[in-house]
């Protein structure tokens, strides 16, 4: 039988001297703008949320939060000082000792269910606010961030009256007060990941959102008020690194939970060395997406695209290194380039936007510098040729081929829409390259062979290994890292264990 596909090394059309056939992804059928128009209901100024009320910061200072898609100011956010953080922790301790810690689980569940339902009721409004504050495409905040955040509250509400089954054979007790610091890539979702298990377990919380994306946490505070949660159970303090440090170092919390960069994670761990605080850290990643030659190629390409360009690559588990089996490397590269031609980069509020705005000017600078280093080190760069808006922070989806393990783009976490492609010859080489990193948060394996999936899942040092898919999350599934990607798990029974004491 004749060879049917591009496996064939000689391309008949080309060998006859005709130009290689090409697909045209032009402007024959342009899409009209389709902006999401729901009102995000923003205030012009947000105070700190302490003891159930929005209060002015004792510092008297505010900082602007801007929309990275057009650099316009959205609101002024209170800048917390040490005294504010202290007040928040005191309120949390009082609530934990007098109300929340004493409530039976089934009562706490009612509050969590209420938060989840209120969040669903206001899903569109929250999605728009999330997109405006963070730059992510509306279709992601609408279809992923907000529904998943609600799902985490629902899931943990379900646990709250069944906590005796979290650690069978042991009795458990809440830790008390926990301090939490979350990043800017999934502002509301990370908030839900942190709050829901802590609250279900009977802990009270002081949480600091990232300084560029405080709005949805503060909108969640409105929901917390509406849900009639006892004052002090959840407190939000806003500001940059110093506020985070104050939350982490405060003497009241029995545990601190941090999601963010490995660099900051290390600083926190150093500062807490010697204390008896419990810690969980969910840090950076440099995940390998590994494609074998028998993989379903088009679905693998789609998974790679989803793995690296989801949320502009601002994902700690982003599949930022692509390891391709040599026999299919050329074919995969061609298909990736073709797929990138139909990615739509632009206004995050447009429902057809696939890749939105980079979260901040700072992050854009970091991505630009790392991409420059990739070019300087000799990797071949390809960018999709989409026109970018004049204002705002944008970066074109970028792939590097011909990358080797010693290139900076293959070693450092870029946290942007930049993919580095490496090749391998054998399974052992793939494992070796995938594990040759300081990180170990996630990995992806693409193959039609089941036994190979199981072998890879065993050998890869990563907290999550996705097989023939990527970036799949569920509240019931624990998430967390190996090595410098951190420790502790979030989600599932394992996640709850990190918020309790075994007695």
């Amino acid at each position: 039988m004749a060879i049917l596909t591009a496996n064939s090394p000689t391309r008949p059309a080309r060998s006859r001297g005709r130009p290689a056939p090409e697909l045209i992804f032009g402007n024959l059928w342009p899409f009209d703008p389709a902006p999401e128009t729901a009102d995000p209901k923003l205030r012009t100024e947000y105070g700190l949320f302490i003891n159930g009320k929005f209060v002015a910061p004792r510092t008297g200072r505010y900082f602007p939060t801007i929309n990275p898609a057009n650099e316009q100011k959205l609101a002024d956010i209170a800048l917390a000082g040490a005294a504010d953080v202290d007040a928040a922790f005191r309120a949390a301790r009082r609530a934990q000792e007098t109300t929340w810690g004493r409530l039976p689980g089934r009562e706490r569940a009612k509050y969590l269910f209420r938060i989840a339902r209120l969040l669903q009721d206001r899903a569109r409004e929250f999605a728009v606010a999330e997109t405006m504050d963070g730059g992510k495409p509306i279709k992601e905040s609408r279809d992923f961030d907000i529904p998943m955040a609600a799902a985490h509250f629902f899931y943990h509400a379900g646990w709250a009256d069944k906590l005796e089954y979290v650690a069978p054979g042991r009795r458990i007790a809440p830790l008390g007060v926990v301090g939490q610091v979350i990043p800017w890539n999934f502002p509301l979702l990370m908030c839900a990941w942190k709050l829901a298990p802590a609250l279900a377990m009977g802990n009270c919380v002081v949480l600091k959102p990232a300084e560029t994306t405080s709005i949805t946490a503060l909108k969640l505070a409105e929901i917390i008020q509406d849900a009639d949660l006892p004052p002090g159970v959840v407190n939000f303090v806003t500001g940059a690194g110093e506020v985070g440090a104050a939350v982490m170092k405060h003497s009241i919390p029995a545990k601190v939970a941090f999601t963010g960069s490995t660099e900051v994670g290390k600083i926190i761990m150093r500062s807490l060395a010697g204390s008896d605080k419990k810690m969980t850290m969910e840090l950076g990643g440099k995940a390998a997406n590994i494609i074998f030659d028998d993989a379903p190629i088009d679905q693998a390409v789609e998974g790679v695209i989803n793995g690296i360009f989801f949320n502009q690559g601002h994902v700690c588990c982003a599949g930022s290194r692509l390891l391709v089996h040599e026999p299919v490397a050329e074919r995969i590269l061609a298909k990736l380039k073709a797929r990138m031609k139909v990615l739509r980069v632009g206004d995050p509020l447009d429902k057809n936007t696939d890749v939105g705005a980079i979260n901040s000017k700072e992050q854009l600078g970091k991505i630009t510098a790392l991409v420059k280093s990739g070019v300087a080190e000799g990797a071949q760069m390809f960018q999709s040729g989409c026109a970018l808006p004049a204002k705002g922070y944008y970066f074109l989806p970028t792939i590097f081929s011909g990358v080797s393990m010693s290139h900076r783009v293959a070693r450092e976490e870029i946290f942007g829409p930049v993919l580095s492609i490496l090749t391998f010859r054998t399974l052992e080489e793939a494992v070796e390259k995938a594990n040759n990193t300081a990180y170990g948060l996630s990995a992806g394996v693409w193959t039609d062979k089941g036994s190979r999936i199981l072998k890879m899942a065993t050998e890869l040092k990563a907290g999550v290994v996705w097989a023939n898919t990527y970036n799949k999350f569920d509240p019931a599934s624990p998430f967390g890292g190996y090595k410098e990607s951190g420790f502790g798990r979030e989600g599932g029974r394992q996640g709850l264990l990190d918020y309790c004491r075994l007695v």
Binding site: T5, P21, W29, D32, A34, D298, Q299
Partner: protein, 312 residues
């Protein structure tokens, strides 16, 4: 199945590669989230009208019914800006009536489902003589069914030989090869069968999802498998095969989603009725209704649209 047959299956799958069902359905679902508004919606709706193979395939078809279908095909609505559909699709016995209704050099083409549609379970000579007769009566396009029994038994050369025989019988008429995806069952099989067919087709011939006579017809999933097969085949050989999803596409919204899949998989060169068709009947009036809605801002009652009978 003997050893040779099972080896031929393995060889074919190795050559064309597998399809992951979950992955391709996720990809297809993304097309449904595209928001098509205003001018782009109108363009899409009009283009979809021009791609319709207006179909009637019933035992109760009469020359009169076919004649009125032809009138509808030429002029779908009062609005003269709305283009005629691509073709009418009828049983072979109705071809001469369609030709009489449309005239000798009509813009609207006549397609006919020859080859013992929909089962194809007659001897090849019978199927071929049906094709000859339909072409002689004036059919511009022949929609054939593949031999699913032979495919599932691993007799791939038999499948291909029959397609070649029908292609020869078509003469200058275009050929549409119906894979009948619901009987092939898996995406792997659909992809493999697409390649088998394309391998022996001419530029501008079609592969088509289904007859519309079984439980499952065109879906975004199997449409996507076939579009990707067409794309891979084109990039490898330079031969542009056209595509026709058929059955199950009843609303304008669905049609736009299928067109988005075409736009983002095969690109601009396939966004016309030489390369893409909809095998449908009730779809046409929904497209017209949506076009009117875009223009006037209000939905019109069904009785403002002709031929709104249930069988459409």
């Amino acid at each position: 199945m003997n050893a040779g047959q099972s080896a031929s299956f393995r060889r074919l799958f190795d050559q064309v590669g597998p399809v992951d069902a979950v992955g391709i359905e996720e990809r297809a679902a993304k097309f449904t989230t595209r928001s098509i508004k205003k001018a782009s919606k109108l363009w899409g709706l009009r283009t979809a009208v021009s791609m319709v193979d207006l179909t009637t395939l019933e035992g109760k078809d009469t020359p009169g019914k076919v004649a009125s279908l032809c009138q509808k095909a030429v002029r779908p609505h009062d609005d003269a800006e709305i283009p005629p559909v691509a073709a009418v699709c009828v049983y072979p016995a109705m071809v001469k009536h369609a030709r009489r209704a449309l005239g000798a050099d009509a813009k609207v083409r006549i397609a006919s489902v020859a080859t013992a549609f929909p089962a194809g379970q007659t001897r090849l000579s019978t199927r071929l003589s049906e094709v000859h007769a339909a072409v002689a009566d004036g059919a511009d396009e022949i929609d054939m069914v593949i031999n699913r029994g032979a495919f599932l038994a691993g007799e791939f050369s038999e499948v291909q030989d029959e397609i070649v025989a029908v292609r020869e019988a078509c003469g200058r008429a275009a050929l549409k090869v119906i894979l009948e995806v619901s009987e092939l069952e898996t995406y792997d099989n659909i992809r493999a069968a697409s390649f088998l067919a394309m391998e022996v087709l001419r530029d501008g011939d079609f592969i088509k999802t289904s007859t519309g006579k079984t439980s499952l017809n065109a879906t975004l999933g199997n449409n996507q498998v076939m579009l990707e097969a067409i794309r891979d085949f084109f990039l490898n050989t330079g031969r542009a095969i056209a595509m026709k999803p058929a059955g199950g596409i009843r609303t304008a919204k669905q049609a736009l989603q299928f067109l988005v899949a075409v736009k983002e998989t095969l690109g601009d060169a396939w966004l016309n009725n030489r390369r893409y068709r909809f095998g449908a009947s009730s779809l046409l009036n929904d497209l017209l209704r949506q076009i009117e809605k875009e223009k006037t801002g209000a939905y019109q009652a069904p009785y403002y649209f002709t031929e709104a009978a249930e069988s459409y």
